[in-house]
Structure formats: C-alpha cells, structure tokens
Symmetry: C2
Subunit: 260 residues, 2 copies
C-alpha cells in the first residue's frame, strides 16, 4: 500500500504533472493539499482515467482545499473544521483494513512570528493546538499526512540558525508540533527512514529560481503514523526530482509504502 502526500498549489494548473507523477510512482492513494478549487470544478475525470476512481474532496474557492484520490476503496470520510472558520484544511477517510488516513493543510502563518502583531501566526498555533486535542482522543490506527508548514528539526531546513526567526522553523512552532507529536504514539515516518541529521527537504521557495544550486529547502510536508501502523511501513521516498518538472509545485510529493 503506497500512500502519497503532495501540496500541489492548484490541482487544475498542475494537472499534467500530477498525472505524470501518478503514472510514474503509481501510489494507491494520493493526498493533495492546496487544490485551490471548489468541489464541482475538481478535475475528477483525469484521475478516474488513471484508475483513481474514489475521490474525496474538501475544497473551497481560491485558497486551501484538500483531496484524497484512491484506487482502493475508502469509507467514512469526514471533514474537520477545527477553527470553525470554514477553511478547507482537512479531509479524512477509513481504509478497508480499518486504518484511518487524515490529510491536513496547516495554515502557513504569515510573515511575522508574533501572534500579537500577526493574527495568521496565532491562527497557525491555535490550529496545531486544536489538532493536538483531537490527536489525543484518537482511538484508531491512523496515518496523518499533509503540509504541516513546520520544519521541526535542524536538519529539516537548509540553515537552522538563519531560520530560527522565520515562520515554519521558530521554536514556538516547533514546540507546538512536538506537543502534537507527543499527544499520541506518532512516528515521524520521514525521520524513521532518514534519521537526523540527514538532509530531508520537501519544499523550495519559488523565489529562488536557482533552488537546485542554493538548495534552500525546508521539510514542511510530513507523514506520521501511530506506532501500530508505523510498524508496517517499509520505505519512504521524497520525490525531489518533481521540483524540476515543467510548471512545478514548490512542494514535492512524499510517499510511504506500508505492508498493510
């Protein structure tokens, strides 16, 4: 069972590279974030043609939006709105084997890492805190994936010291993410297979065109699993090459294979 998470930064604008990725990596399930499309305009046909006939959507106009596409059966889909602000940032399903798969797009948090002067930073911290309460209450083997917009470890960013005050790597965000992680038996699958201090990045800003030269990446995308499910994980792949495809997302897909 191969499960992928990818912040696609508009699924309509990026349709060709998603199709290419599905043909090449052939995951069973694809979790997307930042689809940026309302459900009725989601390009379902393209995915159906490639065998992904189960399509679970939680989209909205313009921003955010998540989706789960699958070629295996899914059930019990739900959509949480932890902040009750109608932002489409979560969609979850249950796999046939009873494992739940939760797909989340954590708020980016704005530019200034201070909740007094930047409401978006506060919203991000609140979001993770509410996720933490939810996580603590889970009673089911679970895989949690998505764009968490936080790079917790020193080796998750291209330069730890230079990013200590940059949103995504500030101690306050890292602490919040660690509390989320400690709220259940979560295993960070990326670091399970590539322990720190190995370099592990999933995002490179559009703003440095020579991203491959400077390699100023961050690990913003994550796949976690409760210990029971994590024990079945057999490999993890970060598809860095996708950052160089035509019209790329600034995020690359990450995939975990499970012996489920």
């Amino acid at each position: 069972m191969k499960i992928v998470s990818w912040n696609i930064n508009s699924v309509r604008f990026r349709l060709e590279i998603v199709e290419r990725f599905l043909r090449e990596a052939a995951p069973d399930i694809l979790c997307l974030q930042e689809t940026k499309v309302i459900d009725q305009d989601f390009p379902q046909e393209a995915f159906r043609r490639l065998g992904y006939k189960t399509i679970i959507l939680h989209g909205q106009k313009m921003h955010h939006g998540v989706a789960i596409l699958s070629r295996v059966p899914l059930a019990e889909d739900d959509r949480f709105d932890w902040q009750a602000n109608r932002e489409a940032r979560h969609v979850g399903v249950k796999l046939a084997n009873g494992v739940r798969l939760e797909n989340v797009y954590v708020p980016a948090g704005g530019d200034v890492p201070d909740r007094e002067v930047n409401a978006k930073f506060g919203q991000k911290l609140d979001f993770v805190e509410r996720m933490t309460a939810w996580s603590a209450s889970l009673d089911c083997p679970t895989i949690l994936v998505g764009d968490f917009n936080i790079a917790p470890l020193e080796s998750d960013v291209w330069n730890h010291k230079q990013l200590l005050n940059v949103v995504s790597h500030t101690p306050i965000e890292v602490d919040a993410l660690n509390r989320l992680k400690d709220s259940n038996s979560w295993v960070d699958l990326g670091r399970h297979f590539y322990p720190a201090p190995a370099r592990l990045h999933t995002w490179w800003s559009y703003r440095s065109p020579d991203w491959t030269v400077n390699d100023r990446g961050r690990r913003l995308d994550h796949m976690w699993a409760t210990a029971d499910v994590a024990a079945a994980a057999t490999s993890h792949t970060v598809f860095e090459a996708c950052r160089n495809w035509l019209k790329p997302s600034d995020h690359v897909p990450i995939m975990t294979e499970f012996d489920l």
Copy 2:
C-alpha cells in the same frame, strides 16, 4: 518581396505561433498589431534568431501596440498619433526601393454603433477620418496594412444582413472606409486577387468555439497599395489554417507577394 499583416493579440503570449508562422511562410516583412507590450519588453531575440533583425516598435502598456519586423533593411520609421491620445496604433517605414509601408491598428469601436451613446464608436470614425486626410496627402508609393476593424463588403462577413447593425460592418463605418479608399489610388489587394462575392475572412471570434463549423468570420484585416505598387503584386494569401493552431489569435495572417 513578401509582406504579412497579423493582429497577434499579445506577441508575448503568442510567440510560439508567430515563430512557427515565420518558419513556414518566410515573409520578408511582418507587420503586427495588438502586440500588447511596451517596447522594452518586446521579445526581440526570438525574431532576431529567425533572421528578422530590423525591428521597429510602437508599443504601449496593456493595449494596442504595433510593430514591423523585417529581414530586409528599413528606414525613416515614424509613428503617427492621429488622435493625439497616446494610443500606439501606427508605425510606418520606408523600404529600400522607396516604397513606404504603413501599419495601422484602427480602434475596434465598442459595442453600440452610435457615437452619441458610445464614445468608442465615435473615436473609431474620427480615426478613419483623420487617416483619410493623411492618406490624401501622401506623395509616395505606399502599402497600407493592418487591422482596420471594418469589413466593408457583403462577402466580407458571414451574414451581411445579420451584421448590418454590428460594429465593423455598419453602413456608417463602411462609408468612412470607402472615403479613406477613395482618398488615394488605393487598391484593395485582398479583393484584387479574390474579387467579391468570394468568401474572404480574416477573423473569427473566440466566442464561438466551433468557428470552423459555423464559419462566422469577418474580413477585418486588409492590405492596400497605391496603384503603382499594386501593379507589382503577384499573389495574396489568407492563412486560415493558423486559426486552428495551438493558442491561436482570433485573427489570421494575410500576405501579399510583390515583384519589387
């Protein structure tokens, strides 16, 4: 000597099809309208690579904009602003043999064919009137090309009766264009080679996707020459096929070959 006129509807967005056209039709001179780019952003390099090393520009931000690209020498370029409103609608040059080439983009004229309720319609009529005064004063063998935004003859439109009150084919516009034509020894080269009532169209609206089925075209683009130059014209071609190319302009290129 092969001279082409083409309303390209953004030369930057349409660069690939212009390059393809130049490779296939290989004109000596290409007159463009609606380049939609300021001179400093004009994609000169692409044209230089194809041998069009003489590039005469009259562009502006956002709208309008004309250009003459040539692989033969040009001189004495000028830019008229008949309405003194800073709209970039004309650029002219002199060929080595002394013939002048004038490239014009006549205002479209808005939707309502009434100068009292639609100032743009008045602007269009005024523009043609001022061109007429200019035309009457010419003392040089001249080729006049461009998007005139008027289809004068019944066979210049897909349905004469249905367009009698549609801007581009109203009697008041046709009268104005006929006065322009009569102000000098102009020969309408399109009709010289394909006399009415032959169907002759150069524009098909984007709004009817099945343009090729309904064929609701109009002849808005023209090449005229004073009688002395017209006598040297040997053929005229309307490149209808370009309307089916990828990311097409709504206008197609027209070409006259001269034995000059």
